[in-house]
Symmetry: C2
Subunit: 501 residues, 2 copies
């Protein structure tokens, strides 16, 4: 086969995979938003079959040969070469896991999702436990087919964040808890900030109206993006010009939908800004989960909880909810949406306690895979850790171990990237603020100029660069957690007036 023939074969192969990937994404979006539950088993069997077809296409040993040749060939377009490098890793990792096992695993994930949903609705961990156990066994078996010397959980961590290991995460979480746990104690003991006005009745229709304004302020464009409602907010996409976000409206908590909308818009912008030349290819995703999360957390926390952001947007919110907010000043509102208070649900956690929610999940995942924690009574383990780290206790499993969907799809090693992403975000913001007048831009409705900085420095690269390279290019240095911790300490010391203590 000539080089040109190999490249053409590669392109067709990528196209075929992208078609299945698109179908599976849309089925997944549909399932998470509107699909009727009674159709689940029919749907699950068939989407597992289609996932298997995509797997068969990907696992073609001839393609491993081709990508191994192309990835080394200096004459080949660098975009194709980089794609081939990434596929070589993925195929090399998975080639010995047989298709039947893969399809059975997909089916298991589908069934586990349905079981998780039912368990959550019924507040009954025992409905989900047998599935969780099987998922862990299935993941063990899958990873045992890989040719790697790394411990199992380290392999999982690498899949979500290239370059990360248990050792590095241990150091990361230890730095985080060392500085944040005492800070949280101080905050808890300080004079509390009134945020009760956020918890009045806020009719959903008004919230939706504000979200339209907010999406428009964020230049989230209906021609390439669509926001839906779901139980558990997420962002999904099929290509650069088709990014879907979801949010959840809570009638007596106006900040929940606002902050999740800003958060998911961060993910959507990342996908939308990736170099169009990468569309449909393995390069067209965010480079890692941590990097993706950095973009959503950057928007949500560093921009979306700032005074300058709300200088532009608070008047609109006040206009929609005059009776609820007429006596609330801008500063009172911004203070209220920054309140830190240990709580049970990660997705509704404040910025300060958030990484501890992650630290708990990280500890549990490590334990599940090194054999020190079992799925049996894991709800109790969960509750005990929440008491230890955050001093709160879930009365209901739906607010405890069943709150998150991730484990139902076998996503272990994913959670830690949420905290890592927050740290990346702080580091990016530190540099960005030196280069562009971020807060003036926010005040002046010029979000597009912030987005242009993010596109240039982070988004456009897709998977073309590694996370470390992106950090280095954008900030001039490698990952450093101190930006994150300094930022939080500084912010919450001021907010709760802790300087004197």
């Amino acid at each position: 086969m000539t080089r040109e023939e190999m490249i053409e074969t590669y392109r067709q192969w990528v196209f075929r995979m992208s078609a299945y990937q698109m179908a599976l994404s849309i089925i997944e979006i549909d399932r998470s938003t509107v699909a009727p539950p009674a159709g689940a088993s029919y749907r699950d069997e068939r989407s597992a079959y289609l996932a298997g077809e995509a797997y068969s296409i990907m696992m073609d040993p001839k393609m491993l040969e081709i990508v191994n040749i192309l990835k080394e060939d200096e004459q080949v377009d660098p975009v194709v070469r980089r794609g081939c490098q990434l596929y070589a890793i993925r195929l090399g990792n998975s080639l010995s896991f047989p298709k039947e096992k893969f399809v059975a695993q997909s089916m298991l994930f589908n069934q586990a999702y349905d079981a998780w949903l039912k368990a959550k609705q019924n507040n009954d961990y025992s409905i989900f436990e047998p599935y969780l156990k099987k998922i862990i066994e299935s993941r063990r078996e899958e990873y045992s087919c890989r040719n790697s010397d790394l411990p199992l959980y380290d392999q999982m961590l690498q899949d979500y964040e290239p370059g990360m290991t248990t050792e590095k995460y241990d150091a990361f979480f230890s730095a985080v808890t060392d500085r944040l746990v005492p800070l949280i104690h101080k905050v808890t003991e300080a004079e509390q900030i009134d945020n009760s006005f956020l918890h009045q009745e806020y009719p959903i229709e008004g919230q939706k109206k504000f979200m339209e304004h907010l999406l428009s302020y964020l230049h989230f464009d209906p021609s390439w993006g669509y926001q839906n409602e779901t139980e558990h907010p997420f962002t999904s996409w099929t290509c650069q010009n088709d990014c879907r976000t979801t949010t959840k409206y809570i009638h007596d908590d106006v900040s929940s939908a606002i902050l999740s909308t800003i958060h998911e818009a961060g993910h959507a912008w990342y996908q939308h800004n990736i170099d169009p030349a990468f569309d449909g290819m393995i390069l067209s995703d965010g480079v890692s989960c941590g990097m993706h999360e950095s973009q959503s957390r950057l928007l949500e926390n560093h921009l979306g909880r700032s005074v300058s952001f709300w200088k532009a947007n608070y008047p609109v919110l006040q206009e929609i909810f005059p009776s609820q907010l007429k006596d609330v000043t801008l500063d009172q509102f911004v203070a209220a949406i920054n309140v830190a208070e240990p709580s049970l649900v990660r997705t509704e956690a404040d910025e300060l306690t958030y990484p501890l929610h992650i630290a708990i999940r990280y500890e549990i995942e490590k334990g599940l895979f090194n054999g020190t924690i079992s799925t049996e009574h894991l709800d109790e383990t969960w509750n005990a850790m929440y008491e230890k780290y955050l001093g709160v206790k879930a009365e209901q499993a739906s607010m405890g171990i069943l709150q998150d969907v991730h484990w139902s799809s076998g996503s272990f090693g994913y959670f830690p990237t949420y905290a890592l992403g927050s740290a990346y975000a702080a580091q990016f913001v530190h540099t960005m603020e030196q280069q562009i007048p971020v807060h003036t831009l926010l005040e002046e409705n010029r979000f597009d100029e912030i987005e242009a900085w993010l596109k240039e420095n982070i988004h456009r690269h897709g998977c073309y660069l590694q996370p470390q390279d992106i950090l280095k290019q954008a900030t001039g240095e490698g990952a450093d957690v101190h930006y994150y911790l300094d930022y939080l300490c500084d912010k919450y010391t001021k907010l709760y007036d802790l300087r004197g203590e």
Copy 2:
């Protein structure tokens, strides 16, 4: 291959096709409801590819051999045998149309849909015309690959309604126009019924609230059905337990969403009630488009526009819209939603003029395929026919030739089934009223008993029986248009007090 091996091969083949079919349905539902437009070309290319994969699986010549054997084998389960009969027809018809042509055609349909949408939004037929022309050429080429002695348009008619021909439809439409055109003239000249109160401002939120009530009255269950919003109401499904309907809310026309909701619920009930043993198989669709339409028209017109239906539901509507409806009596409301008035848009047409909208499309389709009508200036031809049949003229193409989506997907021969279905509906109702107390059941919130009659006599059979057999079993005779015409004449003579004339 033994019989058992053939049956197993057949079952696996059916399962694989059903997986692609499900994916394509969900992609289509997504596209018609929420998918961002800028992603269209990416999506279109890939869904055409997947449609091609499904086509490849179906067009396996070995499977034609197997279904041809199984369909004749008396030892084989009758459900499998009937499925094989239907597949034998479908494969026999399509086997010589090459896959590349099929994929190109799918792609053309996808592009034509996008062009149609743009043309409609811009009121510009010239945007859509080149696609319509290509679609007709593509269909001509496709049908020329079939081994049939029937004229092209007759073959198309058969695909949507087995047993129907141009000759039969000519007779049908001639009977319809002969009796209805004079009746419509009389109605137009009679004293008009006030329906202006239907066109006040009806806030969408209130309409949505009423639709929730209505769906519940119709026992449309969120566990197996979901109603969404769209520009053009439709019903779609992936299996018996996953049926999706859509409706369109118009702020100054309260009856539009109500009647389309009832209409689409009729389609959804048909699919939901099909024998579960048929799920995923070719048998699991309604037997024909006419039969499907009979179920939606039956609910919409015979039940949904009746006094007894509104005895149960009008108080709820009045409660939601007190200022709009407090002075409107039940009888005034029911008369208003039955008003007949020649108009431009088929989906919003009244029951009496509706079949003339269909007669126009039938005449145009016949002309397009026998060469007497061309796509060029078809907008003008369309307008001229609307003036001739209904005395109305479209000022805008979006209200004229661009109003319907069907031709963008090459669906020629489909429209006539809408009128035929209305005739089937009248015939079913005639029998049903002799067997169960339909109007008492409606008044007493016992819709489930009506649905049980429809299930027993029509729905459950899926494609196991032919339309004629279903009619015969349910009503004791073959299709007879006089029930429909008698019903309309009787109804509108009374409503407009035409007896004296």
